[in-house]
């Protein structure tokens, strides 16, 4: 039963990834390969254990856990770099906004920050 559930989930993820036109083709293919590999290990978990033994890990589940931890760290790093890039964009926006409403000491009328088109 659990195998069926996992396989249905993997198929849904595979369809979702295929529909992501904005993601690069190489990345989509890599994810699909990983999904097929995951489906294979769901159907034949003893094969995961065989691979684990070959790599010096006790059980297949342990191997998958270790892999998952590494992938999670990589995903967190990529997401954080995206946050940094987004913050740089926000800085540029805030800077151009700030530079369009400069208050001059000689010009009290400019004291109120009111957006002026083309200023």
């Amino acid at each position: 039963m659990i195998k069926l559930l996992l396989l249905v989930f993997l198929v849904l993820v595979a369809i979702y990834v295929l529909m992501q036109r904005s993601t690069s083709t190489a990345l989509r293919i890599a994810i699909e390969v990983l999904l097929v590999l995951g489906a294979y290990f769901v159907v034949a978990p003893e094969q995961a254990t065989a691979v684990a033994h070959a790599l010096g890990v006790g059980r297949g589940t342990d191997l998958i856990l270790y892999t998952w931890i590494i992938v999670t760290f990589a995903v967190v790093l990529v997401l954080y770099l995206k946050v940094v890039a987004m913050n740089r964009t926000i800085t540029q926006l805030a800077r151009s906004l700030a530079l369009s409403h400069v208050r001059h000491p000689t010009d009290p009328a400019a004291a109120k920050p009111s957006p002026e088109p083309g200023s």
Binding site: Y80, N87, R88, T91, L97, A98, H101, R103, H104
Partner: protein
Amino acid sequence: MNSEALYIVVPAYREAGVIAGTVAGLLSVCPNVVVVDDGSADATAENACAAGAAVVRHPVNLGQGAALQTGIVYAVQQGARFIATFDADGQHRPQDIAAMLQTLKADGLDIVLGSRFLGEAEDLPPLRRMVLKAAVLFTRLTTGLKVTDTHNGLRVMTADAARQLNLVQDRMAHASEMLAQIAALKLAYKEVPVTVSYSPYSLQKGQRLSGAFRVLADLVIGWLAR
């Protein structure tokens, strides 16, 4: 000094209590003072404007590096020939700027950096001295610049140098970033002695030891995000 062509950029965040005094001191040496209020919730912008500075106000808090870059862009847009940066908390002396500008012009340099270790560091606590010295060692190793003080907010540069610098480190890593860019752009630089006075106020506003680790993390992330 030919003060018409000089702009002094003062990044400020929550400095309502001291900004007027800092601006007044600067206006006595130069008419063009621009305070970049980094999204303070207090009266920093109002007090700076009332004291006679032009005020550029970030709509949200972005960090000191972002504020410096905004002020530098503003000064360049205004047609500045020389740009000085100056801390808002009153730890620098306005009269040091004239000597730095003199050196900049006389030696044909791109940028002159203030150094408290060539000059006077009044009432500098030992732990802060250690962190600053560690930052100097880090900068010498990573950029090859032979500087003695890497985190001094007092600098004077030409407009040409200002146009080439582009600080993208919004928070406190901008000081290291600026030195890295000075090295990468091969700008002609020189350190001159300046006096930095530590008051209880400036110490409370200043960076803690943990800030140094934040700077290191920002530099690594900035390098990865290039």
